[in-house]
């Protein structure tokens, strides 16, 4: 972890985001209009499982974000006073490896006692999922990959959702020149093939989390804006909106109080589905060389060389892709269940 000295700020941001997510879920659970439907939908076994898995993943990502310096008595070893996250500590306790000795020297198969290529060197511990080419335990690498995946899934949404909602609602409600401009912008952006745009942007910018999030949010806001604009066009013709306009209610109040609550279900469902497509695109970008450092995408990308080795090193690829699959599957299930709960056309089905 390369937080250097401002790790307290990172901790505070992580805790703030976690509390925000908690409050958001509580608000949704107790919502006047949707509360019971959501509760009914999530009591079904499939959806409940998806929700539990999603919560587990996000909680692990949160655990990996809070870190503090360990005060170890053994000051002879290099990593004695290093900065370690809550996830590191929990992993150490659960797995029983001593603090600075997760790493072996090189690759080893799952549950093996010796290294893969050099059968004379014995391993220090038993690694349930094997180790990769630099000796890092695969289970540890998979757990550490949850945080980049969740970050790439949510941070572009923080930029894309406000942008899409503001532009979509304004374009749909006001019409006229604002509508033309917004439609022109998203038509232009969507006529370039998505992967091409992402690769083009990322190949000219330096590699960092911020740049990847910016590039991904550029393609993520378009779909949401289209849906919000279509829904606003429909809502604009409703009688209560026209009555409010006749009463002289000011524009911001109409937008905030009447239109925005009716668009929220679309935003919620589309946001969750965009999360999955963002996580999947990050893997593809990592495979093509443009992604983040320690994510699942780079583990899967290393399968390119590992596939061709003489005993095939399958465990890296398998466990990283299983973890990715589980994350995306559970979020898809939650999104589906929410869509069943919130979609007004499904009432009485």
């Amino acid at each position: 972890m390369n937080y250097s000295d401002n790790y307290m700020i990172h901790n505070c941001i992580a805790i703030a985001l976690f509390c925000g997510a908690l409050f958001f879920c509580l608000w949704l659970w107790n919502h006047r209009l949707w509360g019971e439907r959501i509760k009914a939908c999530f009591k079904k076994p499939f959806a409940f499982l998806g929700l539990t898995l999603t919560v587990l993943f996000f909680f692990t990502a949160f655990l990996d974000s809070v870190s503090w310096k360990s005060q170890s008595l053994d000051s002879t070893h290099l990593k004695a006073n290093s900065q370690r996250t809550a996830l590191d500590r929990i992993f150490q306790v659960v797995s029983g490896y001593p603090e600075w000795e997760y790493k072996e020297r090189a690759t080893s198969a799952p549950l093996a006692k010796v290294e893969l290529h050099d059968k004379d060197i014995a391993l220090k511990h038993r690694h349930v999922f094997g180790t990769n080419v630099s000796g890092v335990d695969t289970a540890y690498a998979v757990l550490k990959g949850i945080r980049p995946a969740v970050m790439i899934g949510t941070f572009p949404l923080f930029i894309a959702i406000p942008l899409a909602v503001i532009l979509g609602v304004l374009a749909g409600y006001k019409g006229g020149i604002i509508d033309e401009i917004v439609v022109y912008i998203y038509t232009t952006l969507s006529s370039i093939p998505g992967l091409l745009l992402l690769l083009a942007i990322l190949s000219v910018l330096p590699k960092s989390l911020f740049n990847i999030c910016m590039a991904l949010s550029l393609t993520a806001w378009i779909a949401l804006c289209r849906l919000v604009r279509a829904e606003t066009l429909k809502l604009r013709e409703m009688e209560y909106i026209q009555a409010a306009k006749c009463f002289g209610v000011k524009l911001p109040k109409i937008l905030l109080q009447h239109i925005l609550p009716n668009v929220t279900h679309i935003i919620l469902i589309t946001a969750i589905l965009t999360f999955t497509s963002l996580v999947l695109s990050e893997s593809i970008l990592s495979y093509l060389g443009q992604g983040m450092a320690e994510s699942w995408g780079t583990m899967i990308a290393s399968a390119k060389t590992e596939k061709a080795q003489s005993p095939i090193v399958w465990w890296n690829l398998t466990f990283a892709s299983m973890a990715l699959f589980l994350l995306v599957l559970s979020v898809n299930i939650v999104g589906d269940a929410l869509r069943d709960a919130l979609d007004p056309r499904r009432g009485g089905h």
Binding site: S191, L196, S321
Partner: protein, 325 residues
């Protein structure tokens, strides 16, 4: 009708201009011409080689506005942007930055393999998805319906290139049914079989989810219930009533795949070594070949506009209630 087409085309032509503007912003404002030349020629190239390359391609002129020119006309015209746009209007794409080959030839050579791959993928996955979703609609609320949902959500959650890697490993390395990668003009089907198969399987999940939602929205309508009450058979209801009314969103989705049909699947082609437009694009990005990227984006934008237009026109064909204003 022709007035509608003309008007729609005129309104969407600025999109072509806008995409080129975006590309210029991405490529030219972040890096200087020397950086671009260095990326193409390699980090160890000499200074004169770089300068000669820059002068040859015309990248030493200012990008948008030439403040050193004399008249207002040349101020705008003596720039990279204007010369590019005027060349693109006449479809003269020039030569590639990387290997100096005419881009028009590269595009022409690449369209064939791309079409050969994407047309079977689109049609096969369309047929299979419609079949599965109609099954789900016919047997709604039973185990068949529920397993369709589970299947489609599971298939949707797998990363796209994992299908490619797993498919290559299973079918090419283990079973040895298909070649791992490659292309030959003589034995096209032999080399294209595995990519088409994998492309189909990868696209089924998402399509089935979407089509199932559409079918289930339609099947609860009154006219289906009336047809049932009248005693019409299952097959007639499914094909004559349900499918025809569910066709509009399905047709929209398929028509919007027109740009994808020509530009090809970037991932499939680069993994299987198929010399189509997708691999041309990926290579162009890897080698920072701006003129090829510009040409491909131009082509893709034209196809997108054409697809939008065909989409609007198709509504009149499929839905007799719609009339274009």
């Amino acid at each position: 009708m022709s007035a509608y087409i003309f008007r729609k085309t005129l309104v969407t032509l600025p999109v072509l201009f806008g995409t080129q503007l975006l590309l210029f912003l991405i490529f030219f404002t972040v890096s200087s011409p020397t950086d671009i030349a260095r990326r193409v020629k390699g980090p160890k190239a000499k200074e004169e080689v770089l300068q000669r390359w820059i002068a040859e391609k015309g990248y030493d002129k200012p990008v948008f506005y030439n403040s050193q020119a004399t008249s207002l006309k040349t101020k705008v015209q003596d720039t990279i942007f204007f010369s590019y746009i005027s060349k693109l209007c006449t479809f003269s794409f020039g030569k590639s930055d990387y290997d100096d080959q005419p881009i028009w030839w590269k595009l022409k050579d690449g369209v064939g393999p791309s079409l050969f791959l994407t047309i079977p993928i689109i049609f096969a996955s369309l047929l299979i998805s419609i079949f599965i979703s109609m099954l789900a609609a016919m047997f709604r609320d039973t185990y068949i319906d529920r397993s369709t949902v589970i299947f489609s959500v599971t298939a949707m959650s797998v990363v796209y290139f994992l299908y490619i890697v797993a498919g290559q490993f299973l079918f090419s390395v283990q079973f040895k049914w298909f070649p791992v990668s490659g292309w030959s003009d003589e034995y096209k089907l032999y080399f294209a079989a595995l990519p088409i198969l994998i492309g189909c399987i990868a696209n089924i999940g998402e399509s089935t989810r979407f089509y199932r939602t559409i079918m289930l929205n339609e099947i609860h309508a009154d006219y289906i219930r009336t047809a049932r009450a009248e005693g019409l058979g299952d097959l007639t209801i499914l094909f004559k009533h349900l499918l025809r009314n569910a066709m509009i969103p399905i047709l929209t989705r398929v028509i919007m795949l027109l740009p994808y049909m020509f530009t090809g699947s970037l991932l499939l082609e680069s993994f299987f070594g198929i010399p189509g437009l997708g691999r041309l694009t990926v290579d162009a990005i890897n080698f920072n070949d701006f003129s090829t990227i510009s040409a491909v984006v131009y082509l893709s934008a034209i196809l997108y506009i054409a697809a939008n237009l065909i989409n609007d026109l198709s509504y009149t064909v499929v839905d007799p209630r719609v009339r274009l204003s």
